[in-house]
Each structure stands twice: as C-alpha cells, then as structure tokens.
C-alpha cells in the first residue's frame, strides 16, 4: 500500500496496463507531452511509451471516440480521453450507436474493448458547460459499462478492470477528486466492474451513492455517528451495471434508503435506485425513500450559487434525520 492522489492512481493504472499489454493505447486532446492532459492524469506516458501509443489528437471528440471504437475492433485496447464529460455531447453517436451496439447488431462478432475516460461534476467555477453530471445517459444504454470510482484505490483498480474488459467502459472521474489522497494497494490491484462496496457499515439507514458524493456521505456518516446513529454507506462504484444484490441487501437490513447524487435530481441515477428498492423491497422499507441530489438547474458560475446547486453532508444528515 502507498498513498496516492486519485489522479496519480489513475496514472499508475494506465502505466501498468500499458506495460502489461502492448495493445493498450492512450489518445485524446493534450494527453501527451507536455502536460499529460489538462488535469495531468496521463503525465509521463508519452515519455515512457512513445508517440505511437500515446497520441495527442485534434479537437475532434467524435473522431477520438470513433478511433477508439475502430482500433478496438482490430484487437487494441484504446483508452480515449474526453476532457470534460460536457464535451461527450459531441461523441454520443460513436459511444451509443457504435460502441454500445456493435457486438449486438453484428450478432456477437465484435469486441469493442475500449475505455472512454472523462471527468465531470461541479468544480470551481466551470459554470454551465463544464460542470455537468451526465452519467444517466450511459447508465441507460445496454452494452455500455459505466465506472465512477470515489477513491484512489478504486480508481486504479477499476481502470485496470476497464482496460481489460471486452466492453466499452465509460470511466467518469470527478474533478474534485483528482487531488484527494488515499492508500492504494501496490501491484496488480484490480477492482471488478459492477461491484458496489460498503464504504462504511451501519444499521440505521442505507446511503447509496457514488463518485465525489461518497465523500460527502462519509462526512455525513461521521456527523451522525457522533450522535450515535450508524448509517451504512454503499458506494456503487459502477453505475452500469448496478450491483443490485449489494444495494438491496443493505436496504433490506436497514429498511431505509437515501440515494445521494450530484446530478440533477429529476431523471438522475438515484431515481433508478429508489425505484428498484420501492419495487422489490416494498415489505422491507419502513420509511419513504429519500433523494438528496443536485437541483434541477444548470450550474451557475458564482461560487455561492454553485455550492448551493449540489448536495452536501448537511443535507444528507437532514435526509437521514427525516427517516429515523
């Protein structure tokens, strides 16, 4: 184990996988020399693996995604970076109509072994076009997998799993997580996709969340623990497919569900969590399901407003209090 930032953990996963498998490529805007991506996540890769396997691209999101699809069909394992998830709007056809569909519509022949790395969420002042949380777009598409790790260890382990996976994986990082630190197992640390993890055990209520909001949920759990209330925090880690077994067994145990997510409340992923629980655990739920989510608004520039647009630990605490 060693302490790494989230961003270095991702870098390490890329380095290890590139060293392990010569079919792994990295492409995207600015991913190579000099900066290794505008967030520095791919730093050093071009120096280590060369221009051929680490490719800066033009500002052509559609071609970046399409090139990843095409290279994967010939046996490569491209890891494409889309700088902000907001820009993935330009690559939706390649992701949704091509990558997600080729295996099925060609009757099983294709192996779209690609990863699209991107980052989303509210950071500091990105405003309406640089702050979105769009994971529901991919969570609802069969054929895609969607990973949204919250910790450096999961980021490393899930990216390794994603690269080795034979399906298109949308790997959504969070800009506010890059600088966070955590212990990361050394060596071949692989975290399977589609598996949630209980990040904190408890019995009073179940908080289901993912990505940056795991940190807010854990902070809320601390506050509640100080008052003698032990909530369970389930980190989905993958939002497609969702680990229903883990989610539902926790809710069964606690009888209470709070779904926490940064995306706009209406139509966001938490709706799926709550709906599934309401369908399948009717006899177990002893309080209404709760959603603590982003407000239904574009993200404003002003910091005070920006902060108010998304959930925080206090709101999570309040939601838990409502159901106890």
């Amino acid at each position: 184990m060693k302490e790494l930032t989230y961003s270095k953990a991702i870098n390490e996963a890329l380095r290890e996988e590139m060293a392990r498998d010569s079919k792994v490529l990295v492409l995207g805007e600015e991913v190579g020399v000099p900066r290794g991506g505008v967030f520095g996540v791919t730093q050093g890769l071009e120096e280590e693996f060369g221009k051929s396997r680490v490719r800066n691209t033009p500002i052509s999101e559609m071609a970046i995604a399409g090139a990843a699809v095409g290279a994967s069909l010939l046996g490569y394992r491209p890891v494409a970076e889309i700088m902000y998830v907001d820009f993935i709007t330009l690559a939706m056809d390649q992701i949704v109509n091509q990558a997600a569909k080729v295996r099925y519509m060609f009757g099983g022949k294709a192996r779209p072994s690609l990863v699209i790395r991107t980052q989303g969420g509210v950071g500091r002042g990105g405003a309406a076009q640089h702050s979105q949380s769009l994971e529901i777009w991919f969570a609802t598409i069969p054929g895609l997998k969607v990973a949204m790790p919250a910790t450096p260890a999961d980021a490393k382990g899930m990216l390794k799993a994603a690269i080795r996976d034979d399906n298109p994986v949308i790997f959504i990082e969070h800009k506010k997580l890059y600088a966070t630190r955590g212990m990361v197992p050394e060596g071949d640390h692989v975290v399977p996709l589609g598996k949630a993890e209980v990040k904190r055990q408890g019995t009073a209520a179940t908080i289901v969340t993912y990505s940056y909001m795991v940190l807010e949920a854990l902070a809320a759990a601390e506050q509640l623990a100080a008052r003698g209330i032990d909530v369970e925090v389930v980190d989905l880690r993958s939002v497609n497919p969702i680990d229903w077994e883990r989610v539902l067994s926790s809710v069964k145990k606690t009888g209470k569900l709070i779904a926490v997510y940064e995306a706009c409340k209406t139509g966001g992923l938490g709706a799926e969590i709550c709906s599934r629980a309401a369908e399948e655990l009717f006899d177990y739920l002893d309080a209404p399901v709760q959603r603590v989510a982003g407000l239904d608004t574009p993200i404003p520039y002003n910091r005070k407003l920006e902060r108010a647009a998304i959930p925080n630990a206090d709101q999570i605490v309040a939601a838990v209090d409502r159901v106890l």
Binding site: R53, S60, M62, G66, A67, G75, M105
Partner: protein, 330 residues
Amino acid sequence: MTELIAKINEEVDVEPTELVRMYRSMLRIRHFDGTIKDLFTKDFISGPTHTYIGEEAVAVGAMSMLTRDDYIISTHRGHGHCIAKGGDVKRMMAELLGKATGYCKGKGGSMHIADFDLGILGANGIVAAGLPIAVGAALALQMDGNGRVILAFSGDAATNNGAFHEALNLASVWKLPVVFVCENNLYGITTRITSATAIEDLAIRASSYGMEGVIVDGNDVLAVRRVVGEKVAKARAGGGPTLVECKTYRWFGHVATDPGLYRGIEEIEIWKAKDPIARFRKDLVARGVLTDEQAEAIDQEAAREIEEAIEFGMQSPEPDLDQLLVDIYG
C-alpha cells in the same frame, strides 16, 4: 490536387481470370439487390434497405486490389461492398430475412451486415459514422505495421457531416493507411448533392487535410480498380490516406419502397445507359476474355446463386427468443 482520371481501359494488364471474377462479382451484386424490392413488398424484409444497383463498379473495382487480410468499412448501402469483399450471399440473404443463419443471427438486418473474418467491419445505419471508425482501424493497422489497409466507403451526402471532416483530418495528420472511397451518386435520399453543398467535385475536400484527392469514373470498373489500387499501394507503403471520389448513380430509389422518380426519368435513363456491367461485359467480349455465351452463362449462374441464397434464407430457422438478451455484453 484533384486529378481527373478519364478513360484508362486501353492497356489492361489484368489476368483474365481476375477480370472474370470481377464480372461475376458485379453480377452477384446486381442480382442480389434485384430481389430486394420483391422481398420487401412481400414483407419478408423490413427496415430501411438500400440497393446498390448501378454502382457495382465502385465496390468491385475498389476491392479488387485488396487481399483477404485488408479491411473495409461500409455504409447503409452496403450489400455491394459485402459481396465484393467476398461475403457469403446466403448468410447475407438470411440476415435480410432475419434468420438465425444470417451474418448477425438475424439481429442486425441490412444495415448491419459484417464479416470480421473477411475484414468487413460492418455496414452502418448512421451516415458517415463509419469514417471515424475506419480511422481507428487504420490506426491499428499502422501500429501492426504489416502493410494492411482499410477502404472506408461513404456516400456523397455523407461528406457534409462533421464525422467526415474529423475523420479525414485525423487520418491525414497521422498518415494512416486508409483510402476513403466516396460514392458520389449525386443524391442523398431525394436531395441533390449540389443543393446540399456549394461544390460539385467532392474530391477537392481532400485539400483541407493536406490529402490527395482524386476523381474517377465510378461506372468504369477498371478505372476504379487502377486508381484505388494505386492509392492502396501508396497507403501500404506509408504514404498516407487518399480521398477517391467515384462518380456514379443509383438506378432505383433510396430505399426499397422509393421509386426515385424525383430525379427525372431522363436523368435516370442517361445513367442506365452507362450501365457499368453492360459496359464491362462489352469490353470483356471485345477483348476476347469472354464470349457472349460465356458472359451470359455467368450472368445466369449469378442469378441462380441468389435464388439459392433466397432458398437458403427462407428455409433457415428464426433465431430463438433467448437470443434477444445474448451478445449485449461480452
């Protein structure tokens, strides 16, 4: 940058067996697509289904210089590409009929036929979407470094889509082994290319990417063969991509149900008179490669093959219902 290739049939140094293979391939396409309208009308086929009749010289000429190990990526109008690359007409027809024996187990249909073993990376229901994918495949081929290439097909109207621009630019800056074959049949559905863009010759677009652009008579199978062959050789040698515009025409409507008459009978007749198959046949007979009887026999053999393909497809079973949830993830 743009060079017009005119008549180049004079000196042909192609083996007679190869010429006959090409002729047969063109006829397979014609007969295959000749059955579509009827099958559609009888409700055996559903979904948007596009015929390639009139454009056979492009697919057959372009692909005649590829090996089995080379790749192609096709379009919504893909039957001709698939047949020209050696696709099995039985499995194609079974796919159109939605059968378990089809190329995609009946799950893809006309717009999604693919045969990865033959290097056919698939038709595509999204106009121009194959081009960025071809760029990725070409990147793989460049990294493999064994001289293989990919032909990326598109229509004329597809060149107005952003995907075309991004794909050609990226292919050129990375000097990838891809030849973009643009089938300019003058229309996208009912819209004439000249009302969708202010230029006539699409090959000129290559210059925006520092790429070579060439125009060829798309109804002259040997001209297409020579030009695409040259550009394939250049791509194999590391010379980077080329845009080859083939001027041609689809005889029938955009899809099986469209009579296509918005183009005017006169225009259609002019182009039918330029029939790439009749022209090639005449040429082959004139050169003594085939007698008239032989040419006719090949035509009839091709027709029979397609009959057999229909027979095969009709006899084939439907996919099992449990196929519905198979092949989503791997």
